[in-house]
């Protein structure tokens, strides 16, 4: 037997959920592939944008939510811009990524680690602070050699201040509160913050 997908056993709620959360109508996709054709990141995708759309149409929830592509999307919106059916494909991708995160499906952990490193810096300082992001990211990802080749250049050009610029007047604390409320709410609602 081949490993045919039994499409009668698909998740029929999935497309409705995606439609509702992204405010798009995925059934309008007729598979012209324009999203894939214009996608700058397609070469690192394991499932092309149009295939993801098809997956959503067929209710292939597992395949779609576990794919690497969701995490590699650059959010450049080229797909949305050129979709002949006016589907905001980037919004669908973002929705799927949010869904995947909420269900703890982190297929490309480094990307998420980078985001968290970034947001952690913001949480503490109120603003980003590149050395901090890098340090946290290296700690999280254990990718010590990330951009090490750039270090001499950057330091030479004095582009990276070593001291974080903390937002004055209690702004940093305000951001901390926003992040805390977000985290608490996410935990309350049972989704991955």
């Amino acid at each position: 037997m081949n490993d045919a997908i039994v499409i009668t056993q698909r998740d029929t709620v999935f497309m409705k959920d995606v439609d509702a959360q992204s405010s798009q109508k995925v059934s309008a996709c007729y598979q012209c592939g324009n999203c894939t054709a214009g996608c700058p990141a397609s070469f690192v995708y394991d499932m092309q944008a149009n295939q993801i759309m098809r997956g959503v149409q067929l209710g292939l929830k597992e395949a779609v939510l576990n794919c690497r592509s969701l995490w590699m999307c650059l959010s450049c919106s080229t797909c949305s811009l050129r979709c002949p059916n006016s589907i905001d494909v980037a919004a669908v991708m973002e929705t799927l990524r949010h869904m995947a995160r909420r269900q703890n499906r982190i297929t490309v952990p480094n990307v998420e680690k980078f985001w968290h490193s970034f947001l952690d810096t913001v949480r503490v300082c109120g603003r980003t602070y590149e050395i901090g992001v890098m340090a946290l990211y290296i700690l999280r990802s254990l990718r010590v050699f990330t951009d090490l080749d750039l270090a001499p250049e950057v330091l030479k050009k004095n582009k990276l201040p070593f001291m974080p610029h903390v937002v004055q007047n209690g702004g940093a604390a305000a951001i901390g509160r926003i992040m805390r409320r977000y985290k608490e709410r996410a935990e309350r609602e049972g989704v991955r913050p």
Binding site: V44, L74, C76, H98, L150, V154, K159, I175, I178, R185
Partner: protein
């Protein structure tokens, strides 16, 4: 209504793109546009925040908008397209009452009903100085330079949010640089993504995408790429070596902020524009401009290092 401007520099202004910030301040100073920072501004959340959660992203942005409102601003300028995109998206999404309620839950105090209009510094300058007005202020025309403009993917998209002209072919920067005397090439990849924030986690993506842009600029015999985005600039300039490595080619393509190019034309000393902070040396460009301005003919060959 009187326009009261607030300025949102964005975090990178104090980090990687300190040269963008310097040149923006210098150009706006030269044009008499006062940039008052939003008091106590914070990070807009950039890509990571909206990649994680749109409500969180909006909350971070709305706090800035709120502070701008408290400072009586009705126009908000920002140099960074990513910040611009986030702030505009947040303002748009807040029109949905359900979304607004969810965001208000995260904030210290509820968001104001009306937000100031957020536009890019580029639009801010263009609104005050049309091409003729700019041309009148040019001291050192960029005549000898052949420039390729690059907007990146965020500035003009999505069109209904960004309102930055044709999403496929924005032309604002071209008109400004033309006013500054430069020869501007019709650069087809002006809105194609450079790899964005993937420089750190997935550098191969960025190297390849940036490489394509740099290669075409070189093929079109551009003297420099002119950009409006700190992240794009970093990918195209700081990471140009990585791109060259991936493409197995040498581009040696200076990547200027449009404010740096304009600053040169307006006669701002290069030192005040942070030109020295560029990874790919742009001194050759300055020499050409100076030579043209002083009347002598610049060397045609070898202008690019």
């Amino acid at each position: 209504m009187k326009t009261t401007v607030a300025y949102y520099p964005g975090c990178s202004a104090h980090g990687f793109s300190v040269d963008y910030e310097k040149s923006t301040q210098a150009v706006c100073g030269a044009l008499g546009i006062r940039l008052n920072d939003i008091p106590d501004w914070n990070c807009c959340g950039s890509t990571p925040a909206h990649a994680v959660d749109t409500e969180l992203s909006a909350a971070l942005c709305v706090r800035n908008l709120d502070n701008a409102v408290k400072a009586d601003a009705n126009e908000l300028l920002t140099p960074c397209p990513s910040c611009l995109s986030n702030l505009r998206h947040a303002a748009k999404r807040m029109e949905d009452p359900r979304f607004r309620a969810r965001v208000d839950e995260l904030l210290d105090n509820p968001a104001p009903a009306v937000f100031p209009e957020v536009i890019s510094v580029m639009q801010g300058i263009a609104r005050r100085f049309d091409a003729n007005a700019l041309a009148e202020r040019v001291k050192k025309p960029l005549k000898p330079l052949r420039l390729a403009t690059y907007y990146g993917c965020l500035m003009s998209r999505p069109a209904e949010i960004m309102d930055f002209g044709d999403p496929e072919n924005p032309t604002l920067m071209e008109s400004m640089l033309t006013a500054c005397g430069a020869e501007v090439v019709d650069f087809p990849l002006k809105t194609v993504c450079c790899g964005a924030s993937f420089g750190i986690p997935e550098r191969a993506v960025t190297a390849r995408l940036s490489g394509r842009i740099l290669a075409l600029a070189a093929d079109m015999r551009a003297d420099a790429l002119v950009v409006a985005c700190p992240l794009c600039q970093m990918n195209l300039d700081l990471r140009q070596k990585q791109a060259e490595h991936a493409a197995d080619a040498i581009f040696a393509m200076p990547v200027l902020y449009f404010t740096q190019a304009m600053g040169l034309a307006l006669g701002v000393p290069p030192g005040r524009l942070g030109i020295e902070k560029l990874r790919v040396n742009a001194n050759g460009l300055i020499d050409k401009i100076e030579a043209a301005a002083s009347g002598s003919t610049a060397p045609v060959e070898g202008s690019r290092p």
